[in-house]
Symmetry: C2
Subunit: 157 residues, 2 copies
DNA sequence: CCAATGTTCATGCAAACGCATCGACTTTGG
DNA sequence: CCAAAGTCGATGCGTTTGCATGAACATTGG
């Protein structure tokens, strides 16, 4: 009479539906942001890299560590950093603690770019996310998404 | 003494933090799915197209309507459908009601592919989403994400 | 101590992407 | 009714991406 808890099909469906809702909400918002030209003159992925660096102590990170946070293959990130360096937004230096490593540092111009695009980004978020959910719902959404993401660290490969 | 409600900076921050949490949770999970080779032999975006078609009546949709649901530029979707047709997963036909339109139809092979990949996808979701949140949290997450997405329809450009 | 293994980043290359644009068709307004 | 404007999908083209691989360095185990 009681269904087995770990193989409960309705629970699998529930998880799938929740993921699908998350995925579609994200797509819908990214489309909105793109329509607002939020990212110009850089791309979303480039902004993600600049943003990630801006939150690091000393605004710097190993390429490998950056790659753990950004959804991009290692070669793609390597070339993107190359382009960002050519644009003067980041600098690369060898890692003195590990001869294999490359440290990526946000330049002042890169930090300024992150702030400029970040402000536009925030304006769009206020516009498209703000009216959709009240404060309590926003806090709940943030809490559940953080919980979902952080739980990944304790789930084996 | 009372801050203006529409320009409340803490609310803008809250919305930004919620969006960031959503974005990062999605990235973390997509990375997990990729590591499991969930999508093979098609890509996530291709699966998204097959999945979207599979949920439509008659498993068919105008290219333009597909493009509204998938996060992809119109030319990219056009070429992807071209490739999917070459692979035998979809078929294209002219729209008899509108001479400009192209209707994309999921073939039997395409539906089978969607089911096969969908099952792997569901397995991964159960593995990575299931343990992270309980039933109540899953329902709440789904509700908030749906609300966020659906609210976009009533927010002007 | 050093040979074997693992890790980190860069590069060659083909595939896929977005932007700009075009031709074909539809809709609108006088 | 037709000219003007709008919509839909395809294609040329430069850019970006991922996969496979290589070179340099670090770590491990005997």
């Amino acid at each position: 009479m009681t269904p087995p808890p770990s193989a409960d099909p309705s629970r699998a469906e529930l998880a799938a539906e929740s993921w699908e809702a998350l995925f579609r909400a994200q797509s819908a918002l990214l489309r909105r942001f793109a329509a607002d030209d939020v990212w110009d003159p850089i791309s979303l992925r480039e902004y993600d890299v600049l943003f990630t660096l801006s939150r690091r102590p000393d605004r710097r990170a190993r390429l490998r560590d950056l790659n753990r946070e950004v959804l991009l293959s290692q070669p793609s990130l390597s070339r993107m950093v190359e382009r960002l360096e050519a644009a003067g937004l980041v600098a690369r230096e060898p890692d003195r603690a590990d001869g294999r490593g490359t440290v990526v540092v946000l330049t002042e111009a890169g930090a300024a770019m992150q702030r400029t695009v970040g402000r536009r980004h925030t304006t769009s978020i206020r516009r498209y996310v703000g009216p959709a959910l009240d404060d309590e719902e926003l806090r709940t959404l943030r809490r559940l998404c953080d919980k979902l993401r952080l739980a990944q660290e304790s789930i084996p490969d």
